[in-house]
Structures are given as structure tokens and as C-alpha cells.
């Protein structure tokens, strides 16, 4: 297989415009003859469904929740980037592009990132027109704040609920199209597999989560917007239902999976506090605008925070990175927190936490100002920990948050299967080895509102389609496969629960394929995952039946896929013998413990192709060419 990213020619600033002109168009009257399936209703899926329907395509939209308003985009707190330069602080499309390429540690595709920066401004315009209540200054103009990895204020926000507001905007646009009959909405459906006919993605097989029925849905193109795979770690900031199944099934049908080992560990999360814990909660990165990160200077100093005076504190980020201070990118902040804790300087009961302290900001700006900026985040922290962050500093620790890896896509966001498009966190394209804060919302909406409407059209206009109905043999076969998998899961009747397996897998991934990795650990993890997977298929117990609402069965299917996918992550991490962004192999670090890239040998996206049950997946390399941003060691000092 030859990967062709289909990057348009010409100077980077003109590529997208040129491509828009070159893409074929579908006549308005013909659009209604095309069916497009969109799986997922987060920022990417919701916006894509709405926009494709506005254009006149027949859209069938699927979500796992009871309503298309609940996808985990809703939990994004801090904001969305755009190169508007409203604060007049020197921002530009070029700077946003530059920051994002650099922040991703030079493992993203330049052309995609530039397009993202270009579109960022249109997103803000559109979202304001939709009625998103962004924060505003006294004069009524839009307010901005700063985020990690940038020295300009380019982040637009709606209190600490930016993701919620943007998602509800997409949901409202989608709702309008549903009521106009342009979108058929299928809620409480889980995609179990992709149907590929003559090399084209032509439909999906889903399970109706209420009555357990397997349904077949056909279309001319399928758009996956099914999010990331952070829950492979069991504990993450992802929602409970977030899973890799749709993407992984597509992988097994021929879509290459790119850079699966690129996972983002977010520095500011509420620390783990018990084995019963079901998930971790993020405290927005925007808090690092005003909060100062510190630990006691002396290892083992267990005095309460307020008894440790200024001279006895180590503000390690400010110390080490004077120009970016507490606003270094996430991977850098996380690794430094871990380093401090490894030295015994961690705080709290477990010693696995650092302080995020607002005392100075409250003294400087008043409690009222801080409350207005971060009130809901402080409240959230208080609910979880029972501590008041206005009085005592927050305790934070890194947690799995986002996955930069995903299905490989070309410039049109099409995977290696014709007609299968992948957007948002589910694809791999724009964030390289580390995503900057406030960039995920930007990417999801750029993909859904402003890219896919054109590129799907280009595909449909230029493709011959055979007549396909859900009675086609390929649909029957795919349904049978999905059904027999469910039957098998229900019949094992073993002694361990699904969650029990999931937790064990999560620990393996966290210990050996988490914030710091080494070859020995990765080799070990691979064996452990294989053993655990074998045990799962012999010893898991899934109560209930397949014919009704059965949450245990849903989880079992997802964990089964994670048990295979985890191994792919480990393989990818082993193959990438360098450190970059979120992928930190201990053997490759600079003297200052920063990630040391090997551009000579690893300046590529690794796209893994499934080659059969017993066979090793095969890696294909898309070389990354940097013509506009010079490859350099990232420095935030």
C-alpha cells in the first residue's frame, strides 16, 4: 500500500483555496441522491451532520447516547483557539500554524495544520452567529485568554464550559436539520462494524442499545467522528462510554491506524484517590494562567501547604522555563510534575500530586475576579475533594486526556478505505505528538463545519457507485460476525467482570506505555496484554442477554477491542525509537530531560495496516516534510 496524502501543490498559504477550486462539485439537485452516514455527534460529528444536511445531502446520524447533545466534547472546559488577533498582541494565522506545528513536536502534517489555522477564524464567526455566549469585555467585544504553548492570547471561551457551549451550538444546528427532515437521527446506537463493498465504505452495522437489535444502514460515504481511545488506560478524563471500537473495526476492515502511541497526558487533573475510582477529572489548563505550580523543596516535606514558606517552595516550571513559565505545553508540564514526584517531592496522601496555587492571584486580583474566571472549576474541585481551593492550593497530577493518534487520513480527511472519512479526535492529522490546549475544539469544528462538506462532495462527484442495499451479502456477513461476537461474549460465563479486566489493562498501559516508556517495559507490556486478552476470552463474565438494554455487554465489546488495540499502541511505541511530544522513551532524552527527536530516522507518521488475526500489522510510513517551519529542538525556556 502506498500512502498518498494528496497534499495540494503551491505555497502553503494557497493550498486550501486552490484545493477548494479543484474539488469536484455535486449539483445542488443531485445532492439529495446521496446518503452520508455520520457516526458520532460530538463537535466533529454534530457539525458535519448539520452542515452536510444544510447542503442538501441525506444524512443519517448515529450516536451512542440518548441524545446527540451529550458527546464528550461537552466536557472541554478552557476554550477554542483562533488567530483573530483581537487583543492586538501579534497573533496571525502564521503564528497559530507555527505554534501548533512546534507544539506537536514536528510530527504533524504542515499543510493540514496551516488549513486549520486559516479556518480557525471562520469558526468563531460562525459560532457567534449561532448564539454561543462567549465571554465578552465591557464594551461587548469578545474576550480572550492565554493557553499553554503560546505567548499570545488567542483563546475564546465561555466560562469554563466552552466545549459544552460549542457542542450545544452544533447540536442546535443539527436539531434544526432533524426537524427539517434532512437528518435522520439514530440515538442509542453503537457502531459494531463497517461494511466495505468493492473497496468502498458503503455502510455500517449498529446495535440498538435499547432492544439489542442489530441494524444495517447503507450509504454512499461513511464519516467516523467517534473520538479518541484514552479509555484504554481505564482511568482517563474521557467519558465512560468513549471507546475505540468504531475506529478499531474500521482498522480491521483496511483503514490504517496512525501513531497510536501518541497519547496526551494532561498535567492538571484531580489526582487518583482510590481503587474504586471510575474516571479522572480534568481541571482546565486555563487555570495555569493564574495558578502557580509548586512542590516543597525538600523531598518528604509533609507539612500542610500554608506552613511551607516561599523560600521552601520549588516553583519548578517557572524556574526551568522562564519565558513560558506555568504555560509550557502539556507534555512538558506533565513530565516535570512526574519528575518532581519521582524525586519524592510530591504532595498529598499518595505523594503523587503537585500544588496549583491561586493565593498570589487572589491577592493580586481579588477573590471575586478569580471566581468569575474559574468559579465552576473551583466548585468542581471542591465537590470531588471536599477541599476549598480558594483557601488551600489545588492538588493536581497528570492524567490521560487526549489521543493524537487515530485513523490515518489524507488531506481530504479520507482514510485508506475509499469513502471512509475520519474527523476530530478519531483521526490523527493535526496535532502531531502533542496537542496544544484549546486546539481540539478548533480541529473538531474545522473538520465538521468547513472541511468535510467540500471533500465529501469532491469524493461523491468523482466516484462511480454500484447499487447497494442492506440485503447485500457483505451486510449479511458483517452482521453475522458482529452477532457471533456478542453471542461469544455472553457465553463465556467466567469468573471476572469486564471492569476487572479493563482495570488491569489500564494499569499495564499506564505503567509501561504512559508518561515515560522504555523498551524493556514495552516488551513486557506486550506479553502481559496478550496473556490478559487470552484470559478475557476464557474467563470474563457478562450478565444478561443480547436482546435488551445491557450495559455490561456494551462494555465487554469495547474492552475486547481495547485488549487488541493496546498491543498496537505498544508496537507503535516500540517501533518509534525516539522521543517526541507525548511519546517519551527514556533512552532518548536531552540533558535537561526533554524529549529528543530523531528527525533523520523518524520524521514520519506511522500508519499501521491490519494483516490478519495471527499476523503482525504492517507499518507504512508517510514522510513529514517541513518546508515552512524549521525542524528544531522545542524550547520553552
Amino acid at each position: 500500500m502506498q500512502l498518498d496524502a494528496k497534499i495540494p501543490g503551491g505555497p502553503i498559504a494557497e493550498k486550501w483555496d486552490r484545493h477548494l477550486f479543484e474539488l469536484k462539485l455535486v449539483n445542488p439537485a443531485n445532492k439529495r441522491k446521496y446518503d452520508v452516514i455520520v457516526v458520532g455527534t460530538g463537535l466533529a460529528g454534530g457539525s458535519a451532520s448539520a452542515t452536510l444536511a444544510e447542503l442538501g445531502y441525506n444524512v443519517k446520524s448515529f450516536c451512542i447516547h440518548d441524545s446527540p447533545r451529550r458527546a464528550h466534547s461537552i466536557a472541554a472546559q478552557g476554550g477554542i483557539n483562533a488567530a483573530k488577533n483581537y487583543p492586538n498582541d501579534g497573533d496571525s494565522i502564521w503564528r497559530l500554524f507555527y505554534d501548533t506545528v512546534k507544539g506537536g513536536d514536528f510530527r504533524a502534517r504542515e499543510a493540514n495544520v496551516y488549513r486549520l489555522a486559516q479556518i480557525s477564524n471562520d469558526i468563531i464567526d460562525h459560532c457567534v452567529a449561532q448564539g454561543i455566549p462567549f465571554a465578552r469585555d465591557y464594551g461587548g467585544l469578545l474576550a480572550n485568554r492565554s493557553f499553554g504553548g503560546a505567548q499570545v492570547s488567542r483563546t475564546f471561551y465561555a466560562r469554563g464550559q466552552t466545549g459544552q457551549q460549542l457542542l450545544l451550538g452544533a447540536y442546535s444546528a443539527l436539531s434544526r436539520q432533524i426537524s427539517d427532515g434532512n437528518v435522520q437521527m439514530f440515538a442509542r446506537r453503537e457502531m459494531l462494524d463497517l461494511v466495505v463493498i468493492k473497496g468502498q465504505a458503503r455502510g455500517i452495522v449498529v446495535r440498538n442499545l435499547i432492544n439489542g437489535q442489530i441494524e444495517r444502514h447503507d450509504a454512499h460515504a461513511v464519516v467516523l467522528c467517534t473520538g479518541g481511545y484514552g479509555n484504554v488506560f481505564f482511568l482517563s478524563t474521557n467519558a465512560m462510554a468513549s471507546n475505540v471500537t468504531a475506529a478499531f473495526r474500521a482498522y480491521k476492515k483496511g483503514a490504517c491506524f496512525a501513531n497510536p502511541c501518541f497519547t496526551q497526558i494532561h498535567p492538571t487533573c484531580v489526582p487518583v484517590h482510590g481503587t474504586y475510582q471510575s474516571k479522572l477529572t480534568l481541571m482546565s489548563e486555563s487555570l495555569r494562567n493564574d495558578g502557580r505550580v509548586w512542590v516543597p523543596k525538600d523531598p518528604g516535606d509533609k507539612r500542610p501547604s500554608r506552613q511551607i514558606v516561599e523560600a521552601e517552595r520549588d516553583y519548578f516550571l517557572e524556574e526551568k522555563y522562564p519565558s513560558f513559565g506555568n504555560l509550557v505545553p502539556r507534555d512538558v508540564a506533565s513530565r516535570n510534575a512526574k519528575e518532581q514526584c519521582d524525586m519524592g517531592k510530591g504532595v498529598g496522601e499518595t505523594g503523587l500530586a503537585v500544588y496549583l496555587d491561586f493565593a498570589d492571584a487572589i491577592k493580586r486580583d481579588s477573590k471575586a475576579v478569580i471566581e468569575k474566571k474559574y468559579g465552576n472549576l473551583f466548585q468542581m474541585y471542591e465537590k470531588i475533594t471536599g477541599e476549598d481551593p480558594y483557601e488551600t492550593p489545588m492538588r493536581i497530577y497528570p492524567a490521560v486526556h487526549y489521543t493524537m493518534g487515530g485513523l490515518w487520513v489524507d488531506y481530504n480527511l479520507m482514510s485508506t478505505i475509499d469513502g471512509l472519512f475520519v474527523m476530530g479526535e478519531a483521526n490523527f492529522s493535526d496535532h502531531g505528538a502533542n496537542r496544544l490546549g484549546a486546539s481540539a475544539l478548533m480541529q473538531g469544528l474545522a473538520d465538521g463545519y468547513f472541511i468535510i462538506p467540500y471533500t465529501v462532495g469532491g469524493y461523491l462527484a468523482g466516484t462511480e457507485f454500484a447499487d447497494v442495499t442492506p440485503d447485500h451479502e457483505a451486510f449479511k456477513e458483517t452482521e453475522n460476525d458482529a452477532q457471533s461476537r456478542l453471542t461469544r461474549l455472553l457465553a463465556i460465563n467466567g469468573k471476572r467482570t469486564v471492569d476487572d479486566f479493563h482495570k488491569e489493562l489500564g494499569l499495564i498501559m499506564w505503567d509501561y506505555c504512559g508518561m515515560a516508556r522504555n523498551n524493556e517495559g514495552l516488551e513486557k507490556a506486550r506479553k502481559l496484554i496478550q496473556q490478559l486478552r487470552a484470559e478475557f476470552w476464557e474467563n470474563v463474565t457478562v450478565p444478561g442477554t443480547g436482546q435488551d438494554f445491557n450495559q455490561s455487554l456494551e462494555r465487554a465489546g469495547r474492552v475486547a477491542d481495547y485488549l487488541e488495540f493496546g498491543e498496537l499502541m505498544v508496537l507503535d511505541a516500540l517501533a518509534r525509537q525516539e522521543s517526541c511530544g507525548g511519546h517519551f522513551n527514556e533512552a532518548y532524552q536531552t540533558k535537561g530531560h526533554e524529549a529528543r527527536r530523531d528527525d533523520e530516522n523518524f520524521c514520519y507518521a506511522a500508519a499501521w495496516e491490519y494483516t490478519g488475526k495471527e499476523a503482525e500489522p504492517q507499518v507504512h510510513k508517510e514522510p513529514l516534510i517541513f518546508e515552512n517551519v524549521e525542524l528544531s529542538q522545542r524550547s520553552y525556556k
Binding site: 444546528a173 482510590g274 477529572t281
Partner: protein, 254 residues
Amino acid sequence: MTKTINLTLKIWRQSGPEVKGRLETCQATDISTDMSFLEMLDVINEKLTLEGKVPIAFDHDCREGICGSCGAVVNGRAHGPEKGTSLCQLHMRHFSDGDTVVIEPWRAKAFPIIKDLVVDRSALDIIIQAGGFISANTGGAQDANAIPVPQDAAEKAMDAAACIGCGACVAACPNAAVMLFTGAKISQLALLPQGRPEAAKRAIKMLQAMDGLGFGNCTNERECEVECPKEISIVNIARMNREFFKAAFFSEEK
């Protein structure tokens, strides 16, 4: 500090929409007070699974109080006893050793039960589909700063927009009215200049949809405001009523 407590749970069990449900008693032992309420249910479910029984079905997802999936009536109160808290954010430190805790699904004619604590809230989507949007197609919007929005209006719009669509307002209302939910969306969009062109149509269509779905009427009980996990004010209901009357008297919308 972390400690553990023992509780007696009385949980609503109902295997399907047409089946008669009942409260079943079970013991929750050694529950850490740092657990969230849903983590406590996870522990119970793990136990039920290992005993070969069917675990309790409940909707949940983000577990940080923003997706609006979860919700149950705990000891007679939607989302439990804490103010401004969704069920996933309710922690066990608010319960005492030996407590009996009664857990029931949202009860409203418009929210039929699917299984145990899971209800069908699609009526809320239908209300939004009737008009809870601004008809702005993608592309072609003017610069975001072209129309200034007074900060005060933007803040009030945000207060209303914070609704997570969980349905607690309906469950808390003695009439099972959905006025707070509907009023919040109408208010958000009515407060912003971008939402004005469709304000009259929106108010009429959304209220019509609401009336047709089996929800009750508002009789100013104010229970919704008390139980709303996002503490959305009933001022939004008043604003909705104003929008509705304005539309009915002074516009040509029907």
C-alpha cells in the same frame, strides 16, 4: 479524611418499559466516603455481576456534571441532597453510616422508563428541534466582533445556556413541567442580538411542542430551580412567558 460507611439501598428495579417495577433492598458495605454516588453503584454492580445477578442499569457518561446523562431521585430529591450538584458529582461523604437511601428514576409521563433508572428523555430533543436554534447556515457569517453584545446580556445568556438537559427540573416538578428547560433555551437565544430575528417564532413553536409532549404546567412551585444541578433561575421561565406573550400578541407567528 477517607473513611468507610455502610448503607441500606432501596433501588428501583424494572426490567423493561412494560414490566411492573419495584423497590429492591440491597446492602452497600465498606463504601469509601471519597466515592461518587455512581462509583458506589459501580461497586454494587460488580458485586451483583459476580453473584450472577443482573446489574442496575443507569445512564451516565462524563461523570463530571456536564453531559447531563445521569440522574436519579435520591431520597425524594432529584440528583440527591446537595445543591447545584448532578448525581455523578454527589460524593458519599454527604451520607452517614447506617443511612437508608432510596434511589428511583425520574418520574414523569413524558419520560417513560426503559430499564431500572434509565428513562427516555427524547421529548427534550423534540422541544429543541421545534425552535431551540438560530437558523444560521455554515459559512457566510460576518466577523464575530461586528455586533457587540453587552457583557451583561452575554452573562445572562450564559447563565441560561448552562443547562445540561438532564431532566431534573421535570422530575422535581409536582406537575412534571418542562418550563425551566424550555425557558433556559428561549432565554439564551432571546437575550442575544443574533437570536432576535426568530424570537417570536421560537417562543411559539417551542411552547407548542412542549404542550404536545405530555409535560405539565408551571404553577410556580420553584422546585425546578432548587434541584437544577446548574442552578438555573426561574427568571428564565418569566422571560420565556414574556417572549411568548409578546409573540402571541404582537407578531404574526401562530
